[in-house]
């Protein structure tokens, strides 16, 4: 958890408007765990005051390299996409409370949708001793990435796309539903756009499977001081606003109250 300068070693487009950036950060590489994020100050344009939160995709503790994957959606990510090898980034991190493995967990399902595929890869990299099955949803083939990486640690990888250009045509959650109807993992871990998360919440509730989900909310400080990153956590009658930056971004699925109006981008 610190503020420091990280050097960019690679920044390449790996799918349509989706970039993978590798940076050197000893602090992040050594202490980050799956589900955590870094908070990046956008260089070259001082009018963009706020840092951008981006999840950690993978770390290499041997050479201190950290990978992040981001989709270009606005001004900040556009500037990031133009950075070249040798550029320096002012980052905070690793931040947030990520995924965790409850005692006795053996078999897990990993679910990722769109940009949400990036953070869940770190789960499989770090906890590869678990029995892992992965479910990855994309808009279509041009937007798909890192499927082969999931194949390395997963017993099986299921892919779906909205338009059927890669994998099964349809929602990744309906595919997940079919599997949950015949097999019970100990835990589901997921990240993705809000409609996917809402469908997932219903599905895991139906089969009564514990599920951790990683949320996105607009952020300010990233360290718990400004209270702008709130999401409703609890039950319908008894809930509180919690901070996505420090209480999350990962929460138990049954506690997350989404209103459906939130941002969906991937």
């Amino acid at each position: 958890m610190s503020r420091h300068i990280a050097e960019v070693v690679e920044n390449i487009e790996i799918a349509c408007k989706i970039y993978k950036m590798t940076i050197i950060s000893n602090q992040v590489a050594q202490s980050a765990y799956p589900g955590q994020f870094i908070h990046i100050s956008i260089p070259h344009d001082e009018s963009l005051l706020l840092r951008r939160p981006i999840s950690i995709n993978r770390v290499n503790r041997n050479n201190n390299q950290v990978d992040i994957i981001y989709q270009v959606v606005g001004k900040g990510t556009k500037i990031l996409s133009g950075l070249e090898k040798g550029a320096e980034l002012d980052i905070l991190g690793p931040l947030g409370k990520g995924f965790w493995i409850p005692k006795g967990t053996k078999k897990i399902y990993i679910v990722g949708g769109g940009c949400g595929v990036a953070p869940v890869r770190f789960i499989g990299e770090r906890w590869d001793y678990l029995d892992i099955t992965s479910f990855l949803g994309f808009r279509g083939k041009p937007w798909a990435y890192q499927i082969d990486e999931f194949e390395r640690f997963s017993r099986k990888v299921f892919v779906s796309s909205d338009d059927g250009t890669i994998g099964y045509k349809g929602s990744i959650i309906s595919l997940l539903d079919k599997h949950l109807s015949v097999e019970n993992p100990d835990l589901v871990m997921a990240c993705g756009p809000v409609p996917m998360i809402q469908a997932l919440q219903k599905t895991v509730l139906k089969y009564d499977i514990p599920c951790q989900i990683s949320l996105e909310e607009r952020m300010g400080c990233g360290v718990g001081g400004c209270l702008v990153c709130s999401c409703a956590i609890g039950s319908k009658d008894k809930w509180d606003y919690k901070k996505v930056c420090t209480d999350g971004p990962v929460f138990w699925s049954e506690e997350v109250i989404l209103d459906g109006e939130s941002e969906t981008k991937c």
């Binding site: 503020r3 100050s41 005051l49 300010g220 400080c221 718990g224 001081g225 702008v228 939130s262």
Partner: protein, 308 residues
């Protein structure tokens, strides 16, 4: 840089330097302790407190606009009692002034807050008349000079600590409000709070903020804030804590020259958690490089030739 006189006095309270964390942008201070040595700060104005715990506004609560941010937190806080019992003891371990920022929906609530804090070991009270976020709250009190006068007077009667009155900039004439606060017995004035604004997402045709409107802060408001500090400093005798878009040591100098005795740093804390230490360092560097040995040389030191 060691012999610089940085300390200032505001209504009998001594600040080791003029840098104060602005309410709502620095939590209760302790959230930042891994990033910044709280002992280096002149003071901390804690997150806006209310009598009862408050959930705040629906998300999203922040939008970025050119060189600024809009927020609509809506005073989310655990309530004054929780602050006193569970947070203040942790904060008291640090050598910095603590300012309780108090908020209410009615005059009674403000007075209640002041009474509740009477016996508590905090250095100052800050009466937030300005938060534009909360429906029946802030804005109606802070925009009417009569109301500002009576609420300041009433709270002053209930408080033991020196009282800072924090003004909203969403008014036509800031000086008449400042004068009302002084007349009501305010010991100091802080300004500015955020300017009411909004942002729209053209893709979804919806407001970006869950609350539709929010308060604008950051460098975008600095010229407006500076102008108001200057106007107020010419209208009242009581000391001023200036704020609005301060990101650098030179920004601090500008506010002091305009008439502020100390400054608050808000949005900069959201940009980078250790901003205040950097700003203080830059401020000292300015003093050193410009052979200013005492901060008193800067306060109200603007050289002006008034138009005739």
């Amino acid at each position: 840089m060691e012999n610089l006189k940085l300390n200032v006095n505001i209504a009998g309270v001594s600040f080791k330097n003029p840098i104060i964390a602005a309410s709502g942008t620095f939590g209760f201070g302790v959230e930042y302790k891994e990033y910044i040595d709280l002992n280096h700060l002149g003071g901390i104005s804690v997150t806006g407190l209310t009598l009862e715990p408050r959930k705040g506004n629906p998300p999203p609560r922040i939008a970025e606009t050119p060189s600024g941010i809009l927020n609509s937190v809506g005073l989310q806080n655990p309530g004054v009692d929780y602050f006193i019992d569970s947070i203040l003891p942790k904060l008291k371990q640090y050598d910095t002034n603590i300012i309780a920022n108090i908020n209410g929906n009615t005059l009674d609530e403000y007075c209640h807050m002041a009474t509740r804090l009477q016996q508590i070991d905090i250095d100052m009270l800050e009466l937030n008349l300005s938060c534009p976020n909360v429906k029946q709250g802030g804005v109606s009190f802070g925009t009417d000079p009569e109301m500002v006068y009576s609420i300041t007077k009433a709270v002053k009667e209930h408080s033991h600590q020196p009282l800072i009155v924090k003004l909203t900039p969403n008014v036509t004439d800031i000086t008449e409000i400042a004068i009302a606060a002084q007349k009501g017995g305010g010991d100091a004035i802080s300004l500015v709070n955020t300017f009411l604004g909004m942002a729209i997402d053209v893709k979804t045709r919806r407001p970006v903020l869950g609350n539709i409107t929010g308060g604008l802060s950051g460098p975008a408001i600095k010229p407006l804030a500076l102008r108001m500090v200057w106007q107020v400093s010419r209208a009242v005798e009581i000391p001023i804590i200036g704020m609005g878009g301060i990101m650098t040591g030179e920004d601090v100098v500008e506010f002091l020259l305009a008439g502020a005795t100390a400054v608050s740093i808000g949005t900069a804390n959201l940009v980078t958690p250790d901003s205040m230490v950097k700003i203080l360092y830059d401020f000292k560097t300015y003093m050193h490089n410009n052979k200013v040995s005492s901060i008193d040389e800067l306060i109200g030191g603007l050289i002006v030739k008034m138009p005739t």
